[in-house]
């Protein structure tokens, strides 16, 4: 039975109708603390985020650079748990029924929660999709297939190392959109060259009708605009998370105005993405 909320598909259809690309923003759930995170999360749609990726904190984020590693640690030190992440989504969903929320993280916290139990709770909370970094198609039976059955989109990462032969394997059970990781590397480090990204997006489009979002290394409104010209969405993560880190005092507490500053940055990113195709 498929309970897919269809929020992701609706959102991309709406973007297409508006003739523009989308902005996907990443923040780690519980960073820098639960309340500040809630304020940021709730403010994201108004600041121009079209889709939201919410990081599920993990002690060993192997594919992440220093910025997101530190965010995960801040969240965990503040007592963040998978249950509290789902509560955060539930609270958001009560106020916003349209903006898709995608949980992004690693498998073990979900494994520990219990896959079926987690999927039931995620659907109930209003989660639309999952991006689980350490679950390649070779491990689809673990979570991908159960998620699709539960009506949760499973968004796969395609990378510069995913060649034409492998691409169909990666796309097979992907739904919602495809996330193109524009560099071979970890989050928050190098930025890709636009020509190479354009070619890669073209290659993906030959293999799938799904929207293609591009991320890793997008740090400024201009870079977001450049990606918005060649892809269906631009994903910004480490740059936003770094903005959060900049708003923390020496004791690790959020300074007044942190959420407003972060949302202001998201507004700039959104403006970049919106003007890209005009």
């Amino acid at each position: 039975m498929n309970h897919d909320t269809g929020r992701i598909a609706h959102r991309f259809a709406k973007l297409r109708a508006e003739g523009r690309a989308g902005l996907v923003t990443f923040i780690t759930a519980g960073d820098p603390d639960l309340e500040t995170c809630r304020t940021i999360l709730d403010g994201l749609p108004d600041a121009g985020a079209d889709l939201i990726e919410l990081g599920l904190p993990f002690s060993d984020p192997m594919a992440d650079g220093p910025a997101i590693q530190a965010a995960s640690l801040r969240a965990l030190n503040g007592g963040m748990t998978t249950r509290k992440v789902l509560d955060l989504v539930r609270g958001f969903r009560a106020k916003d029924g349209a903006t898709p929320i995608i949980l992004m993280g690693y498998y073990n916290p979900i494994h520990a929660y219990g896959v079926n139990h987690f999927l039931a709770d995620a659907v109930e909370a209003g989660v639309d999709g999952l991006i689980i970094v350490d679950l390649p198609p070779e491990e689809d039976e673990e979570l991908c297939i159960p998620a699709l059955k539960a009506g949760v989109n499973f968004i796969r990462l395609a990378t510069p190392t995913t060649d034409d032969q492998r691409l169909p394997v990666v796309l097979q059970n992907t739904s919602g959109f495809v996330y193109y990781v524009s560099i071979a590397g970890i989050t928050g480090t190098a930025s890709a060259d636009n020509t190479a990204v354009g070619a890669a997006v073209g290659r993906l489009k030959r293999h799938t009708d799904l929207p293609v979002a591009v991320g890793f290394g997008i740090k400024t409104p201009d870079q977001a605009a450049n990606i918005a010209r060649i892809a269906d969405a631009a994903v910004v993560g480490s740059a936003i998370v770094t903005r959060i880190a900049d708003g923390i005092d020496a004791e690790g507490k959020a300074r007044p105005g942190l959420a407003e500053d972060v949302l202001g940055f998201v507004r700039e990113l959104s403006a970049g993405v919106r003007k890209a195709r005009i």
């Binding site: 904190p57 993990f58 002690s59 060993d60 984020p61 192997m62 594919a63 650079g65 590693q69 965990l76 748990t81 998978t82 498998y107 073990n108 916290p109 979900i110 494994h111 520990a112 929660y113 970094v133 350490d134 679950l135 390649p136 070779e138 491990e139 796969r156 990462l157 395609a158 990378t159 510069p160 190392t161 995913t162 060649d163 492998r166 990666v170 990781v181 071979a184 590397g185 970890i186 480090t189």
Partner: protein, 405 residues
């Protein structure tokens, strides 16, 4: 659980030992993991590869090393007849080099030009730096800052051998964090880099490949015991960090039902003190997914990985190789643990009765022998894997004994 006909057929095509193992890695690495698997399969089928390994193990590592009858220890404990498999006599002083020779030859066959590795105690780092010097390849070793502080001699050794040692400052700054950082390097440098994993863990095909390269330990024991006693040993005892020396000793005997196997995990300050105080993933953890495989892990209720503790930097890893997880569940191998204190006692006993200073890792296995041997008959043949020598540990042992060097 039904008992399989053979314990030696794993893993399956997808790298599973029962429910354990697998390939839980980021997509960027997946094509590379598949390439390693393909290259290893081809190498295994090529007699020239086997020949090259044999030659290096003989000429460079100094194999076969002895299966030594520890007569004074046997008399002192008054029970089982104890043999030491002398892996500590290998070049670089531990079993780690067996695996490094195999993997660097594979990396060369794959045309890789840069080697990275993680290390805890520094033994695997030293062994990797050594083979990189031998084969003239640039080498980067990731090592937690905490481990760098407690394993200074090995850090300097790696540098002398021409390796770059990168301090890792995330997490508890020990082995697990070094492995995270090595994986981050690998995703960033997929084209030219080979990740030389130091234990029988990680994504498929590493657990099987490292086991194969370490099985020379058990293969030699089988031949040597036949020569010395005209029969199979009765029990095998080895320490388990990730599990490479243990699986190397055990694997050739898994289908000999008369051979008992005991693997010893690090109980640190005591398993009953909770997961922050020990590093016994099987005896004190539960199944989860980390570093490319499903296995027993030290983790909290929410699936966050817990930093274990052990006096030995080579054992305080919160996971264990997937084949061990399976061998535990099917009951073929018995998993027990030894505390820091029991280990220190066994360490000193070995030095004084046999004139051998063992690695703290190996001393965990010795602690189990001290408990077990006295209760066994004199014709019980017991083999200890003396996985490494203890020179690297004298500073931390001195500190624990309250001696200033």
């Amino acid at each position: 659980m039904t008992r399989p006909n053979t314990f030696r057929s794993g893993p399956d095509e997808r790298g599973h030992f029962g429910i354990y193992g697998g390939r839980f890695v980021a997509e960027t690495l997946m094509p590379l993991i598949l390439e390693v698997e393909k290259a290893y399969k081809a190498a295994k089928a090529d007699p020239a590869f086997e020949g090259e390994i044999r030659q290096h193990l003989k000429q460079y590592v100094g194999r076969p090393n002895p299966l030594y009858y520890a007569e004074r220890l046997t008399e002192k404990l008054g029970g089982a007849k104890i043999y030491f498999k002398r892996e500590e006599l290998n070049h670089t002083g531990a079993h780690k080099i067996n695996n490094c020779i195999g993997q660097i030859l594979l990396a060369r066959r794959m045309g890789k030009t840069r080697i990275i590795a993680e290390t805890g105690a520094g033994q695997h780092g030293v062994a990797t730096a050594t083979v990189c010097a031998l084969f003239d390849m640039p080498c980067v070793i990731y090592m937690g800052e905490t481990d760098i502080a407690r394993q200074q001699p090995n850090v300097f050794r790696m540098k002398l051998l021409g390796a770059e040692v990168v301090p890792v400052t995330s997490g508890a700054r020990t082995l697990k964090d070094a492995m995270n950082e090595a994986l981050r390097d690998w995703v960033t440098n997929v084209a030219d880099t080979y990740y030389l994993i130091g234990t029988a863990a990680g994504p498929h095909p590493y657990p099987a490949m490292v086991r194969d390269f370490q099985s020379v330990i058990g293969d030699e024991v089988r031949v040597q015991m036949q020569e010395l006693e005209g029969r199979l040993p009765d029990s095998l005892v080895a320490c388990v960090g990730g599990g490479s020396n243990a699986i190397g000793l055990f694997h050739p005997f898994l289908d000999d039902p008369s051979v008992a196997m005991i693997a010893v995990e690090a109980a640190g300050h005591g398993i009953e003190k909770g997961p922050l105080e020990h590093a016994a993933s099987i005896t004190g953890g539960r199944p989860g997914v980390l570093h490319g495989n499903r296995t027993y892990l030290l983790q909290d209720e929410d699936g966050q990985i817990i930093e274990g503790h052990s006096i030995s930097a080579g054992l305080d890893y919160p996971g264990v190789g997937p084949e061990h997880a399976w061998l535990n569940d099917v009951g073929r191998v018995e998993y027990v643990s030894a505390t820091d204190q029991e280990t220190l006692d066994a360490f000193q006993l070995c030095a004084r009765t046999e004139g051998i200073i063992p690695a703290l890792e190996s001393a965990h296995a010795l602690a189990e022998i001290v408990k077990r041997a006295p209760k066994l008959p004199k014709d019980h043949l017991m083999v200890l894997c003396l996985s490494g020598r203890g020179d690297k540990d004298i500073f931390s042992v001195a500190q624990h004994l309250g001696v200033k060097l």
